[in-house]
């Protein structure tokens, strides 16, 4: 069913072809610029202590690809505050299907394709520098899936908060967009309290840092590399539970 919903909103989107094209190009450009900044710093300084450019590109490519995928399929949650404000959520609740499922399929935007393309190109370039083994490929897939779930969880949380307040929701951008930005670099450049926050509160380190360390052949306990990405689905699960509590206390804005 989710596929049907997504296909419907995709068709709606393609009606505005020129606008869609321009926005995709612009989105790709914005993320390219970000990576050009990284490249400029590398060409000026030679290296980041302990890391080469292809290694940093692996962190960057994996997290950006994952986030673009999340962004592609979670527009309904991202815009949920608006749905709630105008009372459209009533209609969703009236239909005999799970609310979360309907919201997830609500509005498929193709704009993230720009970021996805750019992230995938960087990822492919970084991957060309890695000595691949079946284990490492599996870890990369695990990291992608874990990051996807984690970001999805963050957006579900953002939507859930909207049941209580729709003020200052943009603050969640620090965790989503900010998380992508911060996670695009090896985490050991940040202070300890920052790394702890992104390991235990928002488990970004679990889905990106530990598996990538193992892929790059760094010293890391195998258990950490293989089990840590599961924090992503776990986080999404908790977010969905919070969502259900939110739906339970929903009182319509009325019409």
């Amino acid at each position: 069913m989710i596929v049907k919903l997504l296909a419907a909103s995709l068709r709606a989107n393609l009606h505005y072809r020129a606008s869609f094209f321009m926005q995709t190009v612009a989105a790709a450009l914005i993320t390219c610029v970000e990576f050009l900044g990284i490249w400029a710093l590398f060409s000026r300084f030679g290296s980041l202590p302990g890391w080469s450019l292809p290694e940093v590109a692996l962190f960057y490519g994996l997290i950006n690809t994952a986030f673009a995928l999340t962004d592609l399929f979670s527009r309904g949650f991202d815009m949920f505050a608006d749905t709630l404000r105008v009372g459209d959520f009533d209609r969703v609740l009236l239909r005999p299907r799970a609310a979360a499922l309907q919201i997830a399929g609500q509005d498929l935007r193709l704009r993230p394709l720009g970021r996805l393309a750019q992230g995938a190109v960087i990822l492919a370039w970084a991957a060309a520098h890695v000595a691949w083994t079946p284990d490492r490929a599996a870890l990369a897939a695990l990291s992608l899936a874990g990051s996807f779930c984690l970001f999805y969880g963050l957006l579900v949380f953002q939507a859930t908060i909207a049941f209580w307040t729709i003020d200052s929701l943009e603050m969640m951008n620090s965790l989503t967009y900010g998380g992508v930005y911060a996670g695009g670099y090896p985490l050991d450049i940040y202070p300890l309290w920052f790394r702890r926050t992104f390991t235990f509160a928002v488990p970004l380190a679990c889905v990106n840092w530990y598996p990538v360390l193992a892929i790059l052949g760094r010293e890391v306990p195998p258990a950490a590399a293989w089990l840590a990405p599961l924090a992503g689905p776990a986080f999404l699960g908790i977010a969905l539970m919070a969502w259900r509590v939110g739906v339970g206390r929903y009182a319509s804005t009325g019409n």
Binding site: M22, S43, F45, L169, E170, N173, S174, F194
Partner: protein, 263 residues
Amino acid sequence: MTPYLAVVSARFRVLLQYRAAAFAGVVTQTFFGFVRLAILLAFFRAASGPQPMTPADLPAYIWLGQAMFQMVPWSLDREVAALVRTGGVSYELLRPVDLYNQWFARALALRTAPVLLRALPMVVLAAAFFGLGPPPSAASGLAFAASVAAALLLSCALTVLLNVTLMWTLSGEGVSQLVLVTVIVFSGLVIPLPFFPDWFQPVVTALPFAGLMDTPLRLYTGNIPATDAVAFLTRQVAWTLALVLAGRALLARGTRRLVIHGG
């Protein structure tokens, strides 16, 4: 002058209402500032040889840049865009005031009010926790203040120029996003401009965008010595004048061929 001052103060009061957005903005900008600073400082740990900026310059450059982020013309005036699209601009033309000046007055409010809401808490936070210090000398401080004023006018001139281009493009969506990218890169908000490759520096300094953010920030840190301030201020003012003249000329042409949508 009076009608334009009225426009500024009216817009100003409207924009000061967006306090929740400002609060969210402070949190987000603080987070990004923290990460940007950590990344740059990490690169310095591996640096060999002299660099175009010192690590001591970075906190002020990053934090004041984050605090004043809303001052750069990173988007066009949405309400003006709507006026042009819906044909409401015809009412604007009926008013007995100069349209360019009126839009400039709007831009002035648009580029200052959000900064005023965000800058103070961010500067306090950054000074208390993240190493933002005073400028090295009173002269640098003064040069910074003058340069911020010049940057503001430059930003307004660019904003109005963008508004005027709407008369041709109407939607403005594409223009807006391209401008966003250009402004953010070439004003020093992605990485400080001195860190771009040496062969690229002539391009960066020749463009007007450096005057939006990079110039005042480097004057504050003393990376551009206060003794050189006059040359940099002149450049900012010259670009402002050029953009105002270009904006006026384009607006004159635009109003002559303007087709009003709707009836």
